[in-house]
Subunit: 337 residues, 2 copies
């Protein structure tokens, strides 16, 4: 383990250092087989009922951004973690940490936004907590949500079921959330307006699982982006993943911003996208289901699972070469979610 | 509603303003019957299995204090909320928000402390999340835990089952946690050392429910203290509660500090105490079970449920009068948990 003596911003990036912190510090102490699976959600069996359980804290800065706010994000992020666990999201908790002096009108706007997102996702916010810290102790508001979902019967999202030859589908264009938040934070005027993709994916995932309950793997490429999410899958499955760079959808305006500022869209956070691994014979029907959903209009196949190189992600570039894609190292954009 | 334009520290006190914030801002938006019960935990029925679900964020300052730290507190607090819901705590999530620059050794100490508390409470920490915010954005570390428990068969903790004539038992001396944290925060040298009572109560509650599954109400008097917890019960049940001041256990050293600093021990936070309402015929056996547990040695009856005054808490004072005890108004000690 090599994580230094002090916490760095990159420990919260969702990338390599986050991974080392969890595997090096938390997992050995909390030692249990459920945590060891390292999925987006924990799989629980309580008296014969299969549940998924997950949590995320949201510290996005600024708290309002084009396409959403910290409240919408706090609901969608946790709903999506349940959805990609192959579960129907049912109940959320909401833990607020508020800064003394926060305008009540802002809190009301955020709470309203949580209510709307919860209604769309079909979840109920059933328990909560509010703490207030002194002025200056945080900047405004942090929200934690935890969620419980019921795993769909017959669905078994598992690293062990990922096999060579399966297609890798992504549900749309990458990087919108990160660039929307970043541009709002820094007051950038972009050539074209960029809106976060923040959305609850439970409906689209349910549609996918209805026609293809045998889907082996779902993942939402949030912090650390597509590249990090696929590296996690490769690491957990021991399979390789080979992407086609020209197939990966990125809006021209996002590409332009990335070119200017030196970001790689493959590492940018998304909050309304899902990665689906499918057997080739299921690809067409899953794609059709995704494309018929408002959040999946631009779904496409971007690569495939390979036997080798084991545990790694490669990408065939536009000019014909192949390079390896690592997990996010360091931190591109702190406090993106 | 009268909660002003801006968030005050008192909105996080667990007292009157917290109550107004939840009932005025959150509950109308998140509108559902489960949340409306306003218990420490939400009661869920998923495919016929009765679960309790709860969350708390922990922002205690300082993060290490005599008798515990933010990690132990984060596990015990949520375990206890499940226990007083009449449930066996099973699984916790852990959401960390860390300040850039936090010493890794401190995080390790806190995580170790969580591991120990979880082991004692018999829960597994099965899912988590870590965010890092810039230096100065928070002071060190905040932790959110959410918990899932299985409601004990035959147990039904419910406001509707609270009736006049039931005894009110508390499991020990009040105010230790609040004074321990406060003295550490301000570097006070107390006449006698005070140690937080922070402890997981799942074992003791299980013992109580084994011999008296018919117990109508359990509550842990954390933020806002005994007075606020009993006011919540009175409000939810429409019953009165009458306490005997001379029966309420408070250590002399806590009394002394309260006298000097102007605190009322009835409003101080506890993190290892439980209030139990019991039918009179069960009082002796429940008391015996509690006293035989290390966390309940000083358990005693402190009052009883009355028909009137409806929804209010009274206290017979040492000199013979009766005064009403309101919920905590304002904030005595911010960031106590």
């Amino acid at each position: 383990m090599n994580i230094g003596d002090r916490i760095l911003l990159a420990h919260g990036s969702g990338g390599k250092l986050s991974h080392e912190l969890v595997t090096g510090v938390m997992a050995p102490v909390f030692d249990n087989s459920i945590l060891a699976e390292m999925h987006d959600g924990a799989f629980l069996n309580i008296k014969g009922v299969q549940l998924a359980f997950t949590t995320d804290s949201y510290v996005v800065k600024p708290r309002f951004f084009p396409g959403g706010d910290i409240g919408k994000l706090a609901v969608c992020g946790t709903v999506n973690d349940l959805a990609v666990s192959g579960a129907e999201p049912l109940y959320l908790s909401a833990g607020f940490v508020l800064e003394e002096g926060l305008a009540l009108a802002e809190l009301e706007r955020i709470v309203a936004s949580m209510g709307l997102a919860a209604a769309e996702a079909g979840v109920q916010i059933v328990t909560g907590d509010t703490k207030v810290v002194e002025r200056g102790a945080i900047d405004g508001i942090y929200i934690n949500t935890a969620g419980i979902g019921a795993v769909f019967p017959g669905v078994h999202i598992s690293a062990g079921r990922v096999k060579p030859g399966q297609d890798v589908i992504v549900s749309g264009c990458l990087g919108d959330h990160a660039i929307a938040v970043m541009s709002e934070r820094h007051g950038l005027t972009l050539p074209a307006p960029v809106v976060s993709d923040c959305a609850p994916l439970a409906g689209m995932v349910k549609d996918i699982l209805k026609i293809a309950p045998q889907v082996p793997m779902l993942r939402d490429p949030t912090r650390g982006g597509l590249a990090t999410a696929l590296n996690e899958i490769a690491l957990q499955t021991g399979m390789g993943i080979l992407l086609e760079e020209t197939a990966i959808p990125v809006r021209p305006e996002i590409k332009a911003v990335c070119d200017i500022l030196g970001f790689d869209p493959l590492y940018l956070a998304n909050e309304g996208k899902v990665i689906v691994l499918v057997e080739k014979q299921d690809t067409e029907k899953v794609l059709a289901a995704m494309k018929s959903h408002p959040y999946g209009l631009h779904s496409c196949v971007i690569g495939a699972v390979t036997a080798r190189p084991a545990g790694q992600v490669g990408i065939k570039t536009a000019i014909g070469g192949t390079r390896m894609l690592d997990m996010l190292t360091g931190e591109q954009l702190p406090r993106i979610c």
